[in-house]
């Protein structure tokens, strides 16, 4: 009799904690995510409402015109395509070179591995402004200035170390017995890499794929510097152009921004679980 009463109290206490936790977290979300809410609602306001004297906190007259205006603009579509191409290209390059390097660093006791790891870590400290002038000259010599390769190659140089640092602990954590089993089954080195290792660390692979895509998608400095012509620039680097085009028509500017943020939101809604685990594995060691 007494036992069940204690259990009952414990249960309600736990439930109360849950409700308080949820309540506070909703408050945090409302305050913290307000800028994203603002970005989205602004993009659905009409011109009259945007220029109105009174600031409205939700679109009183909901319209998708600002979005349509962007999508009807040929320059916008070209920039959008450029963003996709640059992000995909730099992602492909980063994954092709980064994943094998992480595998080698995680599973082979190669001599000098500490120095190799330090080199990858140091590259995280290099600011873009340090790289721009020399890269500009190199790409000029290679004759790839003004092409998608210039920004893609530069962006990949940042993503590859990230992939190595993030995935190395994953590869390290795969038990050696799995290698041996693969060898006994007659798997060669490459086959065991593709057929056994990669599927085993799926979470890590999803994380680095997403992040290396976003590194390209989010890039501003490299594309802006290496591709001078607006028709070769991605959405990020053309922000100034569209800003001066729209003037103070913030609804159109915000629609432009919302379209740039959309992939990020989609990725997070659908792959959240994988990415959060994956991001923290390499950065901090317990």
């Amino acid at each position: 009799m007494k036992g069940s009463k204690i259990k009952h109290i414990g249960f309600t206490k736990q439930r109360r904690r849950n409700i308080i936790g949820c309540f506070i977290s909703i408050l945090i979300a409302i305050v913290f995510l307000f800028p994203i809410y603002w970005l989205i609602i602004m993009s659905f306001k009409s011109d009259t409402e945007t220029f109105g004297k009174i600031l409205t906190y939700y679109p009183h007259k909901f319209t998708i015109d600002p979005w349509l205006e962007n999508f009807r603009d040929k320059d916008f579509l070209v920039s959008l395509r450029n963003s996709v191409v640059i992000a995909t290209l730099s992602m492909a390059l980063s994954l092709t070179l980064g994943i094998p390097a992480a595998y080698g660093m995680g599973r082979y006791r190669v001599p000098g591995r500490k120095a190799l790891l330090l080199t990858f870590l140091i590259t995280q400290m290099l600011p873009a402004s340090l790289m721009l002038t020399p890269m500009y000259l190199i790409f000029n010599n290679l004759n790839i200035l003004g092409t998608f390769f210039a920004p893609a190659i530069a962006i990949a140089s940042g993503s590859i170390p990230f992939i190595v640092i993030t995935l190395r602990p994953y590869f390290k954590s795969i038990p050696v017995s799995l290698d041996d089993a693969a060898r006994i089954d007659g798997c060669g080195v490459l086959k065991s890499f593709f057929k056994i290792m990669l599927p085993t660390i799926k979470t890590g692979i999803i994380t680095v794929t997403v992040i290396s895509f976003l590194n390209g998608w989010n890039d501003l400095a490299y594309s802006m510097t290496f591709n001078v012509e607006a028709k070769m620039r991605p959405l990020t680097a053309n922000i100034y152009k569209f800003q001066s085009k729209y003037g103070t028509r913030w609804n159109c500017i915000m629609a432009y921004g919302a379209i740039l943020v959309l992939p990020v939101i989609l990725i997070f809604v659908f792959l959240q679980k994988h990415i959060i685990g994956g991001l923290t594995a390499g950065a901090v060691k317990e």
Partner: protein, 295 residues
Amino acid sequence: MKMEARKRLEGFAFILPGFLYIVLILGYPLLYNFVLSFKNMDVKNFKTAASVFIGFKNYIFLFKDETFQLVFKNTFVFTVGCLVFQFVIGFVFALFFSKKFTLAGPIRGLILIAYMMPMAVTALLGKNIFGVSEGVVNDILMKTGMIKEPVEWLVSTGTAMIAVIAVNCWVGIPFNMLLLTSGLTGISDEIYDSAAVDGANFRQRFFHIILPLMRPAILSVLMLGFIYTFKAFDLMFVMTSGGPLNATDVLGTYAYNLSFTQYKFSLGAASAIVLFICLFAVGLFYLKLISKEED
């Protein structure tokens, strides 16, 4: 023995392509910039100045230059301001969301969107939110009676830095939360339970258990935070262009403008090297921390 040599070769075969790429694409520019910073190259003497070294003159010029001094100071003010707020708030968030309640996971995930957004868009949004008449920050402050007149956030030199720091913290808080959360999950429930049995209250648990156990995670997040914040570029470039009157100009934007709007390549290289040396000084501690835990 032969087997071992073969394995080593295998390992190198996997590592080398990526490693060489990094060394070529990043190592060469680093050296090139270093050399360039001891020359006097600009757009006019591109060919003739290539072989003339002028020693430390660029560096001496920079440190005597008032604008550079301001930019140097700005970079530190920006970095320290961001680190303090994003670390404290990020830590509070990490502690809070490590509690077990239904919405902990989903809302933590939503908050991370701020961290992954393109900085160019975040900066654009910041420009709008901190606008004088169209900005929602002023609107809220006026409505709640905290200010009487609209604040000219990005127009006056005194407030622009505050606005830029606030926007950067919005990105930095999720980053700090993420890394500190993973540090927190490293502390096992048993340690908490035994502390609770011993009758430790939250303050005691925080200062005697959580902080000491999270030391490596805290150091990592502070040093990585320093590195990412100190080299800021996109935010200022879009939100303020370094203005008004260089009030939000930092080493990243300053070096870029020297090289690509004024075409003073050597001076630009020198200020980029100054930026790198500051990053590297802090980075060395980070490398030491990481490599100590490495076998």
